[in-house]
Amino acid sequence: MQANHALNYDYSVAKCFTYATILFGIIGMLIGVVIAYQMAFPDLNYLAGEYGTFGRLRPLHTSGVIFGFLLSGIFATWYYVGQRVLKVSMAESPFLMIVGRLHFWIYMITILAAVVTLFMGIGTSKEYAELEWPLDIAVVVLWVLWGISIFGLIGIRREKTLYISMWYYIATFLGVAMLYLFNNMEVPTYFVAGMGKWYHSVSMYAGTNDAMVQWWYGHNAVAFVFTVPIIAMIYYFLPKESGQPVFSYKLSLLSFWGLMFVYLWAGGHHLLYSTVPDWVQTMGSIFSIILILPSWGSAINMLLTMKGQWGQLKENPLIKFMIFASTFYMLSTLEGPIQAIKSVNALAHFTDWIPGHVHDGTLGWVGFMTMAALYHMAPRMYKRELYSKKLMESQFWIQTTGIVMYFSSMWIAGITQGMMWRATDQYGNLAYSFIDTVTVLIPYYALRATGGLLYLIGFFMFAYNLYKTMTVSKAIEREPQNASPMAA
């Protein structure tokens, strides 16, 4: 990569989204910790009347971290990376500056409205697509604005060849657009019946069809929000921070097109042994196994990028965050396919092993990569060195401990639960009543919640470190080429 001194990149929108990432990260993870403790200590359900029960807070947690924390993280990196890999500054186009700002404000209003409505219990019940139709329309508007920003910047680019990260940002845009539109097809009841709540709607699909569309969406929302844009980040930030070229172009090509083709088939693995057609279930199972290939392709490509430079892992905590993230990506993309095998799924489905799996992906891969990206961006956006390396090191180990506590307790809980549901006595009768399978899990729920709490503490350390970096850290004169400067 050539030096960027010639261009003055405009980071005003990237900065706004950075603040949003921190804000929604705290809200989303805090609610996550609360509901995790609620499962061990049910009295915590009564902190805020009807608005504080597990049922109300759970969609808030998932939407808060996915569409609050992570989307703003993705947008923050886009408004930083996009300009750099296309070799064009946003400031060159007043139109794109307006689009960027509008994108941010409509996004903020939408997410804040989402928080309020979910607290009130206004939603459609579809997982990760709970928002009612007026907010769905707002989401479409902000998504189109993001699209204009992406393709507008591409339109005025100087670097003609799209870098790997760009492929993944484009795929994120297209994938989410398609999935979100089709899964949220609904009819507002007020406009047909002329009475009732104006914001209420009913799904266009019924029963099994609705389930198929929902999990085609639900699984691939994971693909196009938790995976694709995070790969976009790591392909930019890891080579940049380490000063190492990407290991293999061919491998990145294979992984990209492979991931695009294979991922969308795998949604059926959420519906094994349900009433969807058998062949859809089998396809979901098979393609989930194949999915290991493109997933590990990207992860191995990243690990091999560090070939001969493993010493950096000791010196630079940012490299540590990123390498740990790709390692967790490998773990998570192996665990997922294992759970998608029909006989394993018969045991694992509906148990705590599933949230366990989701969280080693989200906390380890998504969370670590997003935080590393923002750490890398901060010295360049604010022209100051990172505030504290020591704090970063402690954060790394506290959060890693948290993640390990989280997934190991959920492995045990999930498999225990699955085995107890199917256990029979010597006469072939069920050995346990349902409540037996609940009370036995309470210690693991407490352990999991504490793991989550450690992660949240780490996130506060991250927020503090960034805040100090922005405000009091030592100024730097020249933009660092590779390794981010940091005070001990």
Binding site: A193, M204, M260, I435
Partner: protein, 221 residues
């Protein structure tokens, strides 16, 4: 080819879209023609049950309870007959859930009663010692939104031809007719309940959320 695509963003985007859209076209579209046929005996929800279903969604009961009995002996022993696709023909949205923190509710109407639900919603630990489910006291205070439930029923009747007002199917009629039928249906549930405030409110013409959600849970068979 790939080098060329990377220099031509428009065709690159078209290529990506075709590759990702392909799976949906093959796996989802064909079954839309097929699987919406109801099983014999499956009926659309009454307005009161639908109102209860909306409360079920409002409080995200589906975050902890599934409505899908898988075809394993351990599940049919515990919950009853495994689920059939046609049983969900009138479920908009579907409520299968993805997690069983609590037991499956697909056929809860077969083995729980109005008074069991009443005690359970007020204090889950009083009927299931060790339960980690929260109490839903606010359901005894909030009124049911009947208008929105009627609006939903009328919408699915008009837009999706859900067979209300057909022989052997629930009557919908005008809002006033539906409201009258709903009060009669609710009266039967209130009669089985103990809570004096819910009974008092019913005499004033108010239907508390707890009545509607019990009607819905009783309908799950």
């Amino acid at each position: 080819m790939f080098h060329w695509l990377e220099k031509n963003p428009f065709f690159f985007a078209v290529g990506v879209f075709l590759v990702i859209a392909y799976a949906g076209v093959v796996t989802i579209l064909p079954d839309f023609m097929e699987s919406a046929r109801p099983v014999t005996g499956t009926k659309p929800y009454t307005v009161l049950e639908l109102a209860g279903r909306q409360i079920y969604i409002k409080d995200s009961c589906n975050a902890c309870h599934s409505q899908l009995v898988r075809p394993f002996k351990s599940e049919t022993d515990r919950y009853g007959m495994y689920s059939l696709s046609g049983e969900y023909a009138y479920d908009r949205p579907f409520l299968w859930g993805s997690k069983r923190t609590g037991p499956d509710l697909m056929r809860v109407g077969n083995y729980r009663t109005t008074d069991w639900h009443e005690y359970h919603m007020l204090a889950p630990q009083s009927v299931v010692p060790g339960s980690i489910m929260p109490a839903y006291k606010h359901m005894f205070k909030n009124n049911t939104d009947i208008e929105t439930a009627y609006a939903e029923a009328l919408t699915v009747k008009k837009v999706f031809n859900v067979p209300y007002d057909q022989p052997d199917m629930p009557k919908l009629g005008t809002y006033d007719e539906a409201k009258k039928a709903l009060m009669e249906e609710a009266a039967l549930i209130v009669a089985d309940m103990k809570d004096p405030e819910v009974k008092e409110a019913f005499k004033r013409g108010e239907i508390k959320e707890i009545v509607a959600i019990i009607a819905y849970l009783n309908s799950l068979k």
